[in-house]
């Protein structure tokens, strides 16, 4: 089969200008003359400005900003207050008896748009009153690098077990695996009020706060 020949575009349709390159002589290749010239320009302005500031003819930019009320704080020793509803890194809350509230229903993991929550459910050991119908997370892993801090997991949680009220933002670490927060780390975080439980009490059958019959009164 003969190869097809395509008409070439006429040259005058090219909307461009040829670039004029600098000659490749020793002066250009060594860079140094141009560098000294550039540094020279910077130094000229530096000395001019310094002279004018010392003479009092130019305002000092740093002192000006102080006068405008703009201050720099010494982070991380000093911290700015975060808004009340700031979404920080996650924590897992506990019940009043210290056991975790999470029932491993995977609602957070389902709602998560970044797919950063991994949960493995397990059954309570024999003899536990919750064995048989309630589960708990054997593994609960949040990848804080994947997390986009949208707060959907907190919205989705039916048990108020995951919250983002630690007031901590994601901290920079040396390596990626340090961003993988596991269950026990998440449980160790406190809320901004310093507690591990939440303000939303959980009324379980058997609690004095639970309305109506208790499981002991069941038929």
């Amino acid at each position: 089969m003969a190869t097809a020949t395509f008409p070439k575009k006429p040259a005058d349709h090219i909307n461009a200008k040829p670039v004029e390159y600098a000659p490749h002589d020793l002066e250009v290749k060594s860079y140094l003359p141009e560098i000294f010239r550039g540094v020279g320009v910077s130094m000229k302005h530096f000395f001019e400005n310094t002279r004018e500031i010392v003479r009092g003819k130019l305002p000092d930019p740093v002192l000006d900003r102080y006068d405008d009320g703009i201050t720099t704080i010494s982070y991380p020793e000093q911290k700015r207050p975060y808004p009340e509803r700031f979404r920080g890194v996650h924590r897992l809350t506990t019940r009043t008896d210290g056991s975790m509230r999470c029932v491993a229903c995977l609602c957070c993991s389902t709602a998560c748009p970044a797919q950063c929550i991994y949960i493995e459910a397990g059954e309570y050991p024999p003899g536990d009153k919750r064995r048989g119908y309630e589960k708990y997370p054997v593994k609960f892993v949040v990848d804080e690098l994947r997390c986009i801090f949208c707060g959907y997991c907190v919205e989705a949680c039916p048990c108020d077990a995951i919250r983002m009220d630690t007031g901590m933002h994601a901290v920079p670490y040396d390596s990626r695996d340090q961003f993988i927060y596991d269950r026990d780390l998440l449980l160790s975080f406190e809320g901004r009020d310093g507690s591990h439980v939440t303000a939303n009490a959980r009324h379980e059958p058997g609690d004095p706060t639970h309305p109506g019959l208790t499981r002991e009164h069941s038929h």
Binding site: G132, Y133, P158, P211, S218
Partner: protein, 527 residues
């Protein structure tokens, strides 16, 4: 065929059909809990109530009821027609049935749904049925109202172990009695029953018994809510993360149709569910079959090996080439695998009988086992009939042992690791095995090549009744496994032959792919 009218739509029915069954056959769903196409109708859930329009000149049966007058807040006497359960009312010629179009039926469904949820714990987040639960579906379709009852719901037994496989939660139960009827009518072991009445009603196991046997998983499968859960699946996964492939159970020669549910994120199979097929398994599967999804992961050959040491597939192929160097074709045998698909077996038969011109063809598979009259077949291999059609003259593995002992056969290529008899004598032969699962043959083999299992490739299987069925692929190949037919092609190339196939459709074309028209014909043949 006689017909009746459902919401103005003409529905044909066979004599003896109930309204709900005839409608279901036409793809019209009447909501139901207790009715199941494979079980009897107790008509106790009242969800399938429909209105029957009286014949001209006949007076409708009306009930006196009290109706709330929104304007005055007072109840006033009213009348409504007596609704009939569609699962129990036989379809009759010229009958006119109102379902979705009747305001009385709509109200009845709403009320039934509200009653079923009165004492329901609504613990959907920790319930394993969540996502495939009839209570959820019908609440969205027919109820959509909040709970009005302000009392504490009735508490019943929770987490009751009915047996080695099933856990019962009385609070979630809607007392449809499907599990009771399944055990009595299909499994023929009436071990379940109900106790108490009204809102204390719950399922219980017969005294001195537990729910065991070969069909316990089906009680969970027929349960429309999360009352019965299997110990195997509960707490493992949420169903909305799972994807489904139309697969086949590989546990025996019955070839039950099954849905293989797997999580594509972790490339892991989680469970089998029966796939309705009137010709094969109807709506059921046995426990062993339901658990055989585990074989997608357990006991797998995932890496090639040479003399028991791990090797890459190319190293294993090179070792096979050395093994077969200068061998006389009279002393080469092939062993077809009754556990592998038609396509895999076709490829090996092609290599053995056409390319290598060997006359020694054998067949191997798992030994026979337990059988019953419901579903379980004695033959524990999924494709024995398929191998028979491919190679009618194939001899059993015991014959190969004799031939190896007499020196007639020195080199063997086998598909599948299973052996029905003690195959220790094969140690004397040079054995190359292409297998998905470990077995006696992979232990004896000099070279083992890792094949994908039924969960990872599409394959055709012929069940004991001669029905050709296709299983879809679900998982991505695990480890370094490849489809057995492509491994056989690679083996053929390594041994210096030119394989005639490189794609699945080439093999399928040779096999005359199964068609919808094929299946009934084959079934009729088997009858």
């Amino acid at each position: 065929m006689p017909t009746f009218k459902l919401d103005g739509k003409t529905i044909p029915f066979e004599p003896g059909d109930s309204i709900i069954k005839a409608a279901e056959r036409q793809g019209v769903e009447i909501p139901h809990y207790c009715w199941h196409p494979g079980l009897s109708s107790p008509a106790n859930c009242r969800m399938c109530l429909v209105e029957l329009v009286p014949k001209p000149g006949q007076r409708p049966m009306m009930l006196d009821v009290l109706e709330l007058d929104e304007a005055t807040g007072q109840y006033r006497p009213a009348q409504k027609p007596k609704l009939q359960p569609a699962c129990y009312t036989p379809a009759a010629e010229g009958l006119e049935v109102l379902s979705d179009t009747s305001p009385h039926v709509t109200q009845a469904r709403h009320d039934v749904q509200e009653r079923l949820l009165l004492n329901h714990p609504v613990d959907c987040p920790i319930c394993d049925q969540s996502g495939e639960c009839k209570l959820q579906d019908y609440w969205l379709e027919h109820d959509k109202s909040g709970k009005r009852m302000r009392d504490e719901p009735v508490h019943k037994s929770k987490g009751v172990e009915f047996g080695p496989t099933i856990v019962y939660d009385g609070e979630r139960c809607v007392m449809c009695t499907r599990c009771i009827r399944f055990m009595a009518e299909v499994a023929k072991d009436p071990v379940l029953d109900m106790r108490e009445r009204g809102n204390l009603n719950e399922i219980t196991v017969g005294p001195g018994r537990q729910l065991d046997g070969h069909y316990t998983f089906m009680t969970e499968h027929v349960c429309p809510v999360g009352a019965l859960t299997t110990k195997d699946f509960r707490f493992k996964a949420r169903v909305w993360f799972l994807r489904t492939a139309a697969s086949l159970c590989q546990g025996c020669a019955t070839g039950c149709n099954a849905h293989l549910d797997y999580d594509p994120r972790y490339n892991k199979a989680y469970r089998f569910r029966p796939r309705d097929n009137e010709q094969v398994n109807k709506y059921w599967m046995c426990d062993e079959g339901m658990l055989s999804y585990r074989e997608a992961h357990d006991g797998r050959v995932l890496e090639a090996s040479v003399r028991g040491k791990p090797a890459s597939v190319s190293e294993a192929l090179a070792a096979a080439k050395d093994l077969f160097a200068g061998v006389a074709k009279e002393s080469v045998a092939i062993v077809l695998g009754a556990q592998h698909s038609l396509e895999d077996n076709w490829a090996l038969r092609e290599l053995g009988t056409v390319l290598m011109d060997s006359r020694h063809v054998y067949v191997s598979g798992r030994p026979d086992g337990y059988e019953d009259t419901i579903l379980v077949h004695r033959d524990k291999n999924s494709n024995t009939q398929g191998v028979k059609t491919l190679a009618p003259g194939a001899r059993p593995l015991s014959a190969l042992l004799g031939d190896v002992a007499s020196g007639a056969v020195t080199h063997v290529i086998a598909l599948g690791g299973a052996a029905p008899v003690d195959a220790g004598d094969l140690e004397d032969a040079k054995l190359v095995v292409v297998a998905a699962h470990e077995g006696p043959l992979t232990k004896l083999a000099t070279v083992v090549l890792p094949a994908t299992s039924w969960a990872e490739h599409a394959g055709t299987y012929v069940n004991a009744r001669g029905l050709k069925q296709v299983a879809e692929a679900a998982l991505e190949p695990l480890g370094s496994s490849r489809t057995a037919w492509s491994l056989v092609a690679a083996l053929a190339s390594a041994l210096g032959y030119q394989p005639s196939w490189s794609k699945l459709r080439q093999i399928r074309a040779q096999l005359t792919a199964p068609t919808a028209a094929d299946a009934p014909a084959a079934a009729a043949l088997a009858e």
